[in-house]
């Protein structure tokens, strides 16, 4: 190497070394936030940060501490409030591991759009957390509740939502991306899952809450919060929520109890689900046709049915179709009459199929939606009946 090249290299090396460890953060300089609660107080926002107490989680201390600590701060904007939290917290807030963001009902009814901007804009937020609405409650109170089994409530809510969506049905895990798409699209309104505080918030924040076998205060997820635009307009009950998920094709696995002739009941496990929604033009007006195809297994039979007979299976299939159709109709009825919000995105489907018709409809879609004829067809198929053909009672008689 020639001396001139060496001279050139000296500034290069200096430049590199002068950056030092730019934006380096050691792990013990961070406060990992597991959940954020956003509430409104007059014109101001109140941000609640649920911060993980790592030593307690990793079981490295013998003294009993709560696994999480919550801090709250007020601000005109969310960002201001988040930064104001540093008055109380010795370390930088680290928001990349936020698993759940909870909106208070009051804020949700006022509109969540403004609150979403920070979540979308700040680079620290990963887009994979779920958002929920605290039903008839402030978000900060929900975040104060200690949970057993999963020690970090933010994580608990996150995994409970995922599990219930995939194994039970009437919840919907909505992430930031989905919410943003729904809010910006025409003819579509979002839903979020609700979260309910069961018991008193005062005992919930005490460590004794998780020392009891029967936990006095819990947070429970369930029921969908229906939005119109970015404002919460009402809640779907459990059956309506299931109907919503059946219409949207969100149901992956669920259990439906169907009543049978003679007072018997049967629990059917839905294992496969597919929904096609089509827009049709009928008598000059737009209409919607929903066709759902279900695959199901018999999960539990509290009756004396002979399940190896094809007529019996036929009967069960029809009963299941009726039941599911009932859920779906209930959801549509509620959306049309109580909420007056097109949470199913029917408008979007009309727009995609008949863009020209949509031009006329779009301005008055709210009214059009209420009058929109919807036809539902459910096709169920029982695939399996479990490991026994006959119910227990009958066999034991013989």
């Amino acid at each position: 190497m020639k001396p001139r090249t060496m001279l050139l290299l000296i500034p290069i090396i200096f430049v590199i070394l002068l950056t030092a460890c730019w934006s380096k953060r050691e792990l013990n300089e961070l406060s990992v936030v597991s959940a954020l609660g956003i509430d409104k107080h007059g014109e101001d926002y109140i941000v609640t940060a649920q911060i993980i107490n790592p030593r307690q989680i990793a079981q490295q201390t013998l003294d009993i501490q709560t696994p999480i600590t919550t801090y709250r701060a007020k601000g005109q904007t969310l960002f201001e409030a988040v930064r104001r939290l540093t008055l109380e917290i010795p370390r930088e807030l680290y928001l990349s591991h936020v698993r759940t963001v909870i909106f208070g009902e009051e804020l949700a009814r006022d509109g969540i759009e403004k609150a979403l901007d920070l979540l979308l804009r700040d680079h620290q937020f990963r887009a994979d957390f779920y958002m929920m609405v605290a039903r008839e409650e402030k978000a900060e109170r929900v975040l104060d509740v200690l949970t057993p089994l999963e020690q970090i409530p933010g994580n608990m809510i996150y995994s409970a939502l995922e599990t219930s969506e995939s194994r039970w049905g009437p919840t919907h895990a909505a992430d930031l991306e989905e919410l943003a798409v729904y809010l910006s699209a025409e003819g579509k309104n979002p839903v979020l899952t609700g979260i309910i505080l069961e018991g008193s918030a005062q005992t919930g924040m005490d460590i004794e809450n998780i020392e009891k076998v029967d936990v006095p205060t819990t947070v429970q997820i369930g029921h969908l919060a229906a939005f119109k635009g970015d404002r919460l307009v009402g809640w779907l009950n459990e059956n309506e929520s299931r109907g919503y998920n059946h219409i949207m094709g969100n149901t992956k696995n669920s259990v439906v109890t169907i009543p049978l002739q003679g007072g018997g009941k049967m629990a059917i496990e839905i294992t496969g689900h597919r929904t096609d929604i089509k827009a049709v033009m009928k008598n000059g007006g737009a209409g919607i046709e929903i066709e759902a195809r279900l695959e199901a297994n018999v999960g539990e039979a509290q009756c004396a049915a002979e399940l190896d007979e094809s007529q019996v299976l036929q009967y069960i299939q029809e009963a299941l179709e009726r039941e599911v159709k009932g859920y779906m109709e209930a959801a549509i009825r509620s959306a049309k009459q109580d909420l007056k919000s097109d949470i199913f995105g029917f408008g979007d489907i009309v727009y995609r199929t008949y863009p020209k018709v949509w031009k006329d409809l779009s301005s008055s879609w709210e009214d059009e939606f209420i009058r929109l004829p919807v036809r539902i067809k459910v096709n169920a198929k029982i695939k399996g009946i479990g490991t026994t053909t006959q119910a227990f009672k009958k066999e034991s008689k013989e």
């Binding site: 090249t5 290299l9 460890c21 934006s23 953060r25 792990l27 990992v32 790592p54 994580n155």
Partner: protein, 550 residues
Amino acid sequence: MVKLVLGFSHSIGQVFIMGYIKRIITRKKPTNNSGQKRSRADKSSLKKNLGENIKTIKGILGQSPDVVVRQFRAGEDGELAVGVIYIEGLADRDLIQDFIISVMMQGRNKTGKDSELSFGDGIFKRLTDLMLPVGDVKDIPDYDSLFSALLTGDTVILINGCKKGLAVSSGGWDKRSIEEPTSQTVVRGSKEGFTETLRTNTALIRRRIKDPSLWMEVKSIGRRTRTDVAVMYIKGVANDRIVEEIHRRLDRIDIDGILESGYIEELIQDETYTLFPTVFNTERPDIAAGALLEGRIALIVDGTPFALLVPALFAHFFYTSEDYSQRADIATLLRLLRYLCFFLTLLIPSFYIAITTFHQEMIPTQLLISLKAQREGVPFPAILEALLMEVTFEILREAGLRMPRAVGQAVAIVGALVLGEAAVQAGIVSPAMVIVVSITAISSFVIPSYNLAISIRIMRFIMMFLAAVFGLFGIAIGLLAIILHLCSLRSFGIPYMMPMSPFVAADQADTLVRVPYWGFFTRPRLIAQTDMVRQQRPSDAEPRPPEGNE
């Protein structure tokens, strides 16, 4: 961008460290040539007078007591004054006693034709033809050849009145027997290892390849040590141009001493300023034989059990002889494991540093919390913590290697306790870092070649600094620089990264994977260039059930 990185990597590696070394090297010009002076002085031929000759020899050897001079008289009436000179310990005393001295002393009675054992030019021919029942006998006309014969263990016979001497091959010194190699052990395969004796080593290879075209050329290198270096190759398989190049490079060596093959390695390698070895060394004759069959060339140096194999490619440092004695599927998996361990031992500490100080969002939440809990109360930043542990480990490793074997246990105990327990308990390092360092260390032992493992150790520290300054970008830059550097290397003209770059499809059968033998019977492309085919129709070698036998 690529050019910049290339220039950057070259610059850091070469200008700042190597350039400095280069300057030191060139500053010291060789000044004394005493060795050469001596050999020039000894070119003079022997004298006629025996006594004078012996005096000169003793004078030059400095009256060293291990030089044995036996003078006696032979011939009819003992009219021939004979001097037998050898070096005790180098020459086989029994052989000299039985086949030289006693034969010559009794010779006059046995032959009866005394007149023939008298003065004259033919006396040495007579001696050789009739009297000396030993294998190798050479004439020595001058002092120079006398000393080289004497100092390799030959016995020199001088006769009064003759201006010539006779060197009888009588080398027989105490040597280590063939033992199991210690540096490259196998579960299955030959347990023979090279020894310090050149002849034993060449014989070990010859025993494996009984081919007349296995050629050997011996050179003596080193002005003072006169170390024999044998160049072995299979004529017609090895590339002649590489053989010539090796000879050229060996002839260029002008040094006073060669004590180990490492001297030769450093003097003939293509690129000095690199962390990667471009000459392969092995203690195992089966690896050497395998390399010869691939068309590579073996350099065997007297006095060391480590033979050199050239050209050496990057992939060679991941092969073991066991790859060829175990089943193909096992060999493939183990080889892939070794490549994996190469990356583990190179990157794990730097990756840990980068992830925990720059990219916390990449860690799963649960893992982050657990790592965070471990780091609570650790007073150092991650890079210092990692350096502390890595350096401690390097110290322990070096200590374990150098210390007397008897105290080795103590180091292991202290090391394990200090590293594993006390440091963590004292909160100086986090348990996760101990795990990281352990994985790094264990992975580095998987690399079968010790000299590559050392270079990875050095690069690991560079990568750690890059990770601490730039995070994952630093690791990416470092890896890019390493790859570019690797691609720029050559070993005796063969691209170091062959058969990956340049890509040779046929050689892939025995690089990352090792397919069954019936799948790849050609020699490596660029190494052997003439006789490429090991077996004409490899598919015939595929085992199958006998036909027509149902």
